[in-house]
């Protein structure tokens, strides 16, 4: 099996290569071949000349050196028809929305945690080589709920480019006039945003980091009180909101139809 690891750390690729080199030989007797690239940019260069991979292990964040996130890598691999496994530090609180987007807009086969033992990953590779589809496992939290209807959690958080502009402004500013000025929206538009995005934000917090749902706002809660938690949320997920690929997604480039299994998130 030829495996491509898309991760900014060579150590990730090396640890998988080493683990597979010392593991029992695969059923067909041919050793696995592990190769790695450090960023989506390098992945693009590699795929231009070699698409013969049967599995890709994809990190979601490539550090400050890469303006592109794992969403770009997932799209490139999707276009090349290479099955993907998201392999990242799922415990990082600022990865949550990227993971939601990864499982909402693309179809990675599984989520493997970098915090877990490498045997989990080699087991996953062995299972996939036998044609087995991994169970939901760690990815359960991030996959859209099956058979639902209506907009998903992600779509309710960021449904339009205007909303994305407001989220981006919120990553820097925390007062209404400043956010409105930065996002170039009227304060009434911002007020509607604050009113409508608060509940999805709380839901995302609950789903991603298990924040208490008791903190649900009362309906009469004022927008002035809503802006601080929304600002904190935006700062935490700034890498997601500033991502160029997310902007493309929000512009409708990858909007998925109401196909089964891709409908909505948990509610």
């Amino acid at each position: 099996m030829r495996i491509i690891v898309v991760d900014d750390a060579v150590a990730a690729e090396d640890s998988l290569a080493l683990a597979l080199a010392t593991a029992p030989a695969p059923a067909d007797g041919r050793a696995h071949q592990v190769m790695g690239v450090r960023s989506p940019r390098e992945l693009r260069q590699l795929l231009a000349v070699d698409r013969g991979f049967q599995l890709a292990m994809v990190d979601l964040d490539f550090g400050p050196g890469s303006p592109e996130t794992g969403l770009v890598a997932l799209r490139l691999l999707d276009e090349a028809g290479i099955p993907c496994v998201v392999w990242c530090a799922d415990i990082d609180e600022n990865r949550g929305l990227l993971l939601l987007a990864a499982f909402h807009y693309f179809e990675p086969w599984a989520l493997a945690s970098k915090a877990g033992p490498i045997a989990d990953v080699t087991g996953l590779v062995a299972a996939m080589e036998q044609g087995l589809r991994p169970g939901r496992g760690l990815a359960e939290r991030y996959r859209p709920a099956r058979g639902g209807s209506g907009p998903s959690l992600l779509e309710r958080l960021v449904g339009s480019t205007t909303q994305l502009d407001i989220w981006r402004a919120l990553t820097v500013f925390s007062s209404r006039p400043e956010v409105a000025a930065r996002a170039k929206v009227a304060e009434s538009t911002l007020d509607r945003f604050l009113q409508d995005r608060y509940a999805p934000m709380r839901e995302a917090e609950h789903r991603l980091v298990g924040a208490s749902p008791d903190l649900e706002p009362r309906t009469d809660e004022r927008n002035r009180a809503r802006i601080a938690p929304l600002h904190a949320f935006a700062v935490r997920h700034a890498n997601f909101f500033r991502d160029g690929e997310v902007e493309q997604i929000v512009r409708g480039r990858y909007r998925r139809g109401p196909a089964p299994g891709t409908g909505t998130a948990a509610r």
Partner: protein, 487 residues
């Protein structure tokens, strides 16, 4: 009429107490520092612009006086304009302080220069302010006042007055928004701060006194125009409010940027260290097969280099810290291994393409290999180590080559059959890219050469041609290989 940057001097004891009070009252979050620093930046620019604006206004005001007054009035005009011109010259010296040393060369100018330097960024009265104040009063009274120039047509007189008051306006406005009001080191007293509120009306009253129709000629200036001029200082409140809003905004921006920088630094440390630490931790936890000690050591050294990288990246705000040249790897590694050869270090020589900026992959490979190979050399009691790097290996140009040579102890007998474990691991890893590790002992030097390629499609930076573009010493014929997949 008198103005300057503030009010008369106070007793030293008072100033000392005020300074202490200012230090005591200093907010822990340094907002006041940001305000003061922003005000200094703004004031510096505003004073410089103001000097040119006032020079233009002063020159323009002199025109109607010189053009329409009889020749007999010329000495008086010159004498009246002289103090203001001197004041302006000092104001230029004040605002363009890098030119003050030129002024200091003049005989007896030393005390003046010291005075100008001492009143910078403080709310106080200085010589240039006083001279300008007296000067503009004399200039204004060329057109109005008790003894104005005779024979000027009314429009010329009105224009002269307007230009003088505009000059006045600019100078007083700069005093109202001076950085000294926001000083944290020499904070203005409560009395001064109260006085600041009275500057616009006091200035208006002074203008009433100056423009009052003391003489028949002065009465030629339309009364409505004079009234508008005397009320104009009230606009200072609006400018002051706008300036204060800008300063508050600067604090907000600074606080937001500071928070963002902290957040980004924390994220950078996290993202740069987490991978190497988690790989180390996972490898150390592994039961089957048990972790190899050499590889464990190698991984922990990588973590240490990573910490140094993260520190440097944050210091330099470098977005791409996991990149650089072989020389940079060496500079980050050297402090970590210095203790191992302290006292016997004679030479470490870098040669080849050591200044070529590497791809992220090559950089990380060099980092890991160099730390392994250097430590091996130092453990073998080497006194001299040579590091050689080639972007294109002479034997196989599709590979790059890192060769570490040392004069330490020879490899033990049988090393070829029982390879050193950390090298064995590296050999497996490099083998995936058509390379490997070769060990050659030529009797005097022990050479460990690592070669590796890169995935198809990835383009390595090619070094610039060297002036002495001769091939480096070829690797001696292998007499002893400990691991061999390479060339």
């Amino acid at each position: 009429m008198e103005w300057g940057r503030g009010k008369p001097r106070r007793r030293p004891a008072d100033r000392q107490a005020d300074r202490q009070a200012a230090v005591d009252a200093r907010p822990a979050d340094h907002d006041a520092d940001v305000v003061f620093e922003t005000a200094i930046h703004a004031a510096r620019t505003l004073w410089r612009w103001g000097c040119w604006v006032r020079l233009a206004l002063y020159g323009a005001a002199a025109v109607p006086a010189l053009a329409w007054s009889p020749a007999a009035g010329l000495p008086r005009i010159v004498l009246s304009l002289l103090p203001g011109a001197c004041g302006l010259a000092l104001a230029f010296g004040h605002s363009f302080s890098e030119k003050l040393p030129l002024l200091a060369r003049l005989p007896a100018a030393g005390p003046l220069v010291r005075h100008l330097l001492s009143v910078r960024e403080k709310a106080s009265v200085d010589a240039s302010g006083l001279l300008e104040g007296v000067g503009i009063l004399l200039a204004t009274w060329l057109f109005v006042g008790p003894l104005p120039l005779s024979g000027l047509p009314a429009p010329a007189r009105t224009a002269g007055v307007a230009l003088c008051i505009a000059y006045n306006w600019d100078a007083v406005l700069q005093a109202v928004i001076d950085a000294g009001w926001y000083s944290v080191t020499a904070a203005p007293t409560r009395g001064m701060r109260v006085f600041r509120w009275f500057i616009p009306p006091v200035h208006g009253l002074l203008l009433v006194a100056v423009l009052w129709p003391w003489s028949a000629a002065a009465a030629e200036v339309p009364a409505g125009f004079v009234a508008a001029l005397t009320l104009s200082p009230l606009l200072f409140y609006a400018v002051w409010a706008m300036f204060a809003a800008m300063l508050r905004a600067a604090v907000h921006t600074a606080v937001a940027q500071h928070r963002l920088a902290r957040f980004n630094s924390a994220s950078a440390v996290h993202s740069m260290l987490k991978n190497s630490v988690s790989v180390l931790a996972r490898y150390a936890e592994q039961d089957d097969p048990p972790p190899d000690l050499g590889h464990l050591r190698s991984l922990s050294r990588e973590v240490l280099v990573g910490i140094e990288e993260a520190r440097q990246a944050i210091m330099r705000a470098d977005p791409d810290s996991q990149s650089g040249s072989v020389r940079e790897v060496w500079m980050r590694l050297e402090p970590l291994i210095a203790h191992a050869w302290r006292g016997r270090h004679e030479e470490c020589e870098l040669s080849g393409d050591v200044d070529v900026r590497l791809t992220s992959t090559d950089y990380q490979r060099v980092r890991s290999l160099m730390s392994d190979l250097m430590m091996n050399a130092l453990k073998a009691q080497a006194r001299r180590v040579r590091v050689e790097f080639l972007v294109q290996d002479a034997e196989r140009p599709e590979l790059c080559l890192l060769r570490v040579s040392d004069d330490g102890e020879r490899f033990p007998p049988g090393a070829a059959r029982n390879p050193l474990t950390s090298l064995k691991v590296q050999d497996i890893l490099l083998g995936r890219y058509g390379g490997g590790i070769d060990v050659v002992d030529d009797g005097r030097w022990k050479h460990v050469a690592a070669r590796w390629g890169c995935p198809p499609g990835i383009v390595r930076p090619v070094r610039a041609a060297r002036p002495d573009d001769s091939p480096l010493d070829p690797l001696p014929d292998p007499r002893q290989r400990t691991a061999g997949k390479g060339a």
